[in-house]
Amino acid sequence: MLLPAFEYARPQSVEEALAELGRHRNARVIAGGQTLLNALKLRVAQPDVLVDVSRLEELRAISADADGGLRIGAAVTYDELAGSPLVREHHPVTAAMSARLVDRQVRARGTVGGNVCLADPTSNFPPLLVALGASLSVDGPDGSREVAADAFFLAPYVTAVLPGELLVEVRLPPLAPGERVGYESLQLGTDSWALARASVLVRSNGAIEHARVVLGCGPVPVRQPAMEAALRGAATAESVEAAAELAGEDFEPPTDVHASSEYRRAMGKVMATRAVLAATREDA
């Protein structure tokens, strides 16, 4: 299909990209383009200029801090995340999830920055990043700022990145001793569209000491404080299931052709249970 007319710019640095974004009132950032090109075909997006950040060195690196925290450039692809020895070592669940995103063609082009900046309710990364306590580095004309993941996703397709700004990096804090991550999705088919997701960070020592539980596929990823509190001290599958009965706070998934809101809410509890159990299994 013929796309609408637009100009294309491939800046050589973040500084040049910001200048380009500042120069045009209706500019859009493109990296892998795995959603944006469809939005252009459908005329949902009609930018004057596409600013291509997919080759910016500053956005292409994955590095580890001394404490094991990871800095992931916004233009790192799913394939690169899945294959990175650093990610596999420090955040194995993130690597495994990236290896199962959509299909191999999309994983070769799609980027973590594109995933979070799209902020589609069904996107993989938003609930995971909130559970991990990740932060996002956003550069703009007035400098750089750090946004916590739980303040980044504001509404469907709306994030804290303002016009003229650019997401540069995603920072994953290190996992503390005893901390593990769980990530479970109910999907329509293998590696496909999700109806409900849950991501958890659990610190456990036989019994659960601390848990962060996040449900995805509602308008924005939402923490589950009641379930988190009830998980404290849980040491059996039954007690985890009982705690998950409290999940669903502020979780308002839509009713659509695939499933009712009620069904998604019920499945959110199931995914939350499974994610906690996965993160506390002895062999995990």
Binding site: M1, L2, L3, P4, A5, F6, E7, Y8, R10, I30, G33, Q34, L37, N38, L40, K41, Q46, D48, L50, D52, S54, D79, V102, D103, R104, Q105, V106, A108, R109, T190, D191
Partner: protein, 159 residues
């Protein structure tokens, strides 16, 4: 709104091409219309069916989901790279023929190129790995069974 035009250099099937493309031109149109490589098909034109799959710097990608200008400096392989008209077919193509892995043939170029990248990174895939590898490629004729068998046969892992 204005189009912008960009000179690009792209290697396609080993041959270097210099072209000027419009910002809004898709890679699949560069391949089919400018370079007359009609083996790459357009199916859904929305990144779902995989018929337009080509290999870009060693990785399978959907050429309807990439701008031609983004292929600047990249190396692209299309289904035409597997064998010429008068040459023996590539082992993967021969296996597709033997196993009746195509009926209408529309999805075949994309299937072959996705399978090509699988075998390059994993020369002896299991059936499960083959099925995951062609997850992004839709076939409405075969029910996939013969395609999976053909790819496994080409890899020598068909039981």
């Amino acid at each position: 709104m204005a189009d912008s035009a960009h000179p690009i250099t792209v290697i396609v099937n080993g041959e270097t091409h210099e072209r000027t493309v419009l910002a809004r031109q898709l890679l699949v149109h560069l391949l089919r219309d400018s370079l007359a490589l009609k083996g790459t098909h357009i199916g859904c034109d929305s990144g779902n069916c995989g018929a337009c799959t080509v290999v870009c710097d060693g990785r399978a990608i959907k050429s309807c989901m990439m701008l031609a200008v983004q292929a600047d400096g990249r190396s692209i392989e299309t289904v035409e790279s597997l064998s010429g008209p008068l040459e023996a077919p590539d082992p993967l193509q021969a296996a597709f023929t033997r196993h009746h892995a195509l009926q209408c043939g529309y999805c075949t170029p994309g299937m072959l190129m996705a399978a090509k990248t699988l075998l390059a990174e994993n020369p002896r895939p299991t059936q499960d790995e083959v099925r995951h590898a062609i997850k992004g490629n839709v076939c409405r004729c075969t029910g996939y069974v013969n395609i999976v068998r053909a790819i496994q046969d080409a890899a020598g892992t068909l039981e």
